[in-house]
């Protein structure tokens, strides 16, 4: 598709260059090569999680665990606080001679509230950090990309990378022996 490439050479309206591989290991190696070459603004797309691929992109998902921890704490204290407030402040009611603040009985609700809030925040937080829902993304413009959810592995180096240079980057990607290198229109 030389005409397409020529059109894309202007770089305006271009999101990046995408190389397609048919094996996870090939993509993993390509990603490491791209990183040692100095590329930073890139992403890899795979049909299933590949061990080590996030490392190759120098990415560590640190925020998910943090927000879930905080959410769990908030959920637990909310659950405990609710029980305490109901039985001590709002509706004091002596049962079987126990003190109003009969805290051992609050533990099941405390635990359930922790799990509930932590799980909801985990998923909503993960989606938010991933920028989802995001119905449109330039990578979907590549017809072959439909196989990223089936059996193909893609590496996309983006135009906004300081090292991006259409011919140079294309040559670099071709050197990784992909099935194909395709420009990704914005």
């Amino acid at each position: 598709m030389p005409t397409e490439i020529k059109q894309a050479q202007s770089l305006s309206g271009l999101y990046g260059l995408m190389a397609e591989f048919d094996e996870a290991d090939a993509l993993l190696q390509a990603t490491w090569r791209a990183r040692s070459e100095g590329y930073r603004q890139m992403d890899a797309y795979t049909p299933m999680p590949i061990e080590g691929l996030a490392d190759a992109l120098d990415f560590r998902p640190t925020w998910v665990a943090r927000i879930v921890f905080v959410a769990g704490l908030l959920g637990a204290s909310g659950g405990f606080g609710l029980c305490w407030w109901i039985t001590v402040i709002a509706y004091p009611h002596i049962v079987a001679g126990r003190p109003l603040n009969s805290w051992p009985a609050y533990i099941p609700i405390t635990f359930e509230s922790m799990v509930l809030v932590a799980c909801i925040v985990a998923v909503v937080g993960m989606l938010a950090l991933n920028g989802m829902p995001e119905p449109y993304h330039p990578v979907f413009n590549v017809p072959e990309f439909a196989r990223a959810s089936r059996d193909r592995f893609f590496l996309c180096i983006q135009v906004n990378d300081p090292k991006f240079d259409f011919e140079g980057t294309r040559g670099f990607l071709e050197g990784l022996h992909p099935l194909e290198v395709t420009p990704v229109p914005e």
Binding site: P47, I50, L53, P61, E112, C119
Partner: protein, 478 residues
């Protein structure tokens, strides 16, 4: 969700054509021969993206029966709303009756789904994949059926929201020291978390369905649900972390839910209920009945859709083993109940045990329960039985019946005879009790049939991972 499928994208015709006979690789493999990333994807999505005319006839027949039962459920519930709980057989002293028996039975069934998806994930069991999605859906629908019973049993079901703590004009609050309120929190948390867990697992597969669908409507539908998932490595990293956290949170949750359900009984002083062994024995029983239900559903489905190469004998044998071992824990629970009745020296406990097993109206339910839950499942010690699909199927149905009887014995037999003979009574279920129970089975099965036909019932991306870990040299190519 039919979609016109042309033959050109069915890459390796033999493995993925609709009617091809699948090869079961036997009890040592989790995946049939010859599969690669493409074929597992096509095969599982092919269950959904096939023309309606290529749906196995058993699906239509099964759905028709299930849908009839749904209608029976609607009639039974309407009559209940019109006339009140008096249409059921509940009396004083047996105020709990079928509603609570069914509630405990259904919620127990749900537990296997969470066990398979969360605990077996943390234990890195390879046979978990290919049955986890299916079991999670089972959990969701079983909890939906379970949740209806306490609400229908309220007498004034339209006031069910009174169970929740919310600021009201009467300034009345639920009692957080009561196990019944713990139950509200436990079951609603469990239902919500099960839904979240299930949907999170579905997101990458919904993206696969979006990319594979041919009809624009189906594409849009799956596209909206997939929320733009594109398989980015960064997204996968966060996704896996989240999934692991959900599994870690669900594991204690599933134990807590049935423990709290057992507190509904154990915290009361009624003989036959007031025992400390209830929480662990309820949790084991829940997993036992849940695995039985997974087997009862998976065995026909794998046959109808020719999925023997994805749900192999290894899955069936492992589930049979889990069923056997949890069944033994349950047997230990029964033995301890009998032992403690004698050893406690408490005349009421002793009488309750005598009444359950010999002297009472319902003595035969106890022995039927022992036959279903303890005697018959011992056949699973034999490898020949475990490797026989029809026998495992029959045992799983027997265990489902047995676990229902267990809850009947606990709820009804104990309530009919408490401390004071003047308050003794007897309970007979009415036709409306049976209709409501059969109706929820219909609700459950209808939802399962719709799920299997409309959403990927086997986790596609996790099957690709299985392919990736098994034989990387064969994983590609088509």
């Amino acid at each position: 969700m039919a979609d016109d499928h042309t033959s050109d994208d069915r890459t390796s015709g033999d493995l993925t054509s609709y009617d091809a006979v699948a090869i079961d690789p036997g009890p040592n493999e989790v995946l049939g021969p010859g599969h690669n990333y493409g074929t597992v994807t096509d095969k599982i999505s092919g269950v959904i993206l096939r023309p309606m005319s290529r749906t196995p006839w058993q699906m239509f027949a099964g759905f028709a029966v299930a849908f009839l039962l749904v209608n029976l459920f609607l009639v039974a519930v309407t009559w209940l709303f019109v006339r009140g709980v008096g249409v059921w057989g509940v009396v004083i002293p047996v105020a709990w009756g079928f509603a609570i028996v069914n509630f405990v039975w259904w919620i127990g069934i749900g537990h296997a789904g969470t066990l398979i998806s969360a605990i077996l994930l943390l234990l890195k069991q390879d046979w978990r994949t290919s049955i986890n999605r299916f079991s999670e859906a089972m959990t969701l629908f079983a909890v939906a059926c379970a949740g209806m019973f306490p609400i229908l049993h309220l007498g004034r079901p339209w006031l069910a929201y009174w169970l929740l703590p919310y600021p009201n004009t009467m300034w009345l609050w639920p009692q957080p020291r009561s196990p019944l309120i713990w139950d509200v929190f436990a079951v609603s948390t469990y239902a919500t978390v099960s839904l979240i867990f299930w949907f999170t697992g579905l997101i990458p597969d919904l993206a696969t369905m979006r990319d594979k669908a041919k009809s624009p409507l189906v594409q849009k539908l799956f596209g909206m649900l997939a929320m733009g998932w594109r398989g980015s490595a960064r997204h996968w990293a966060r996704y896996q972390k989240t999934y692991l956290l959900l599994a870690g949170l669900s594991t204690p949750l599933v134990v807590s839910v049935h423990s709290v359900v057992s507190f509904d009984f154990a915290v009361a002083i009624l003989p036959g209920w007031h025992t400390t062994i209830f929480p662990p024995y309820f949790v084991a029983g829940a997993i036992y009945s849940g695995f039985a239900m997974v087997l009862s559903l998976a065995i026909p489905v794998r046959r109808w859709f020719h999925l023997e190469d994805l749900i192999t004998m290894r899955h069936i044998e492992c589930m049979a083993k889990v069923m056997l071992s949890t069944g033994l824990i349950v047997a230990y629970g029964y033995a301890m109940e009998a032992f403690m009745a004698w050893y406690s020296g408490d005349p009421y406990e002793r009488f309750t045990f005598y009444n359950r097993t010999w002297g009472g109206e319902y003595w035969w339910t106890y022995w039927l329960l022992i036959a279903c839950n303890i005697v018959i499942p011992q056949s699973l010690w034999s490898r020949r039985v475990r490797l026989s699909v029809p026998l495992v199927f029959v045992v799983s149905l027997v265990v489902n019946v047995g676990m229902w009887l267990e809850r009947f014995v606990i709820v009804v037999t104990s309530l009919t005879r408490d401390f004071v003979p003047s308050s003794w009574g007897i309970y007979y279920p009415t036709v409306w009790d049976w209709s409501t129970f059969a109706g929820t089975i219909g609700v459950f099965l209808s939802l399962m049939f719709l799920f299997i036909r409309g959403l990927p019932a086997i986790s596609i991306f996790e099957m690709r991972e299985v392919v990736h870990h098994m034989e990387p040299e064969h994983a590609h190519g088509d």
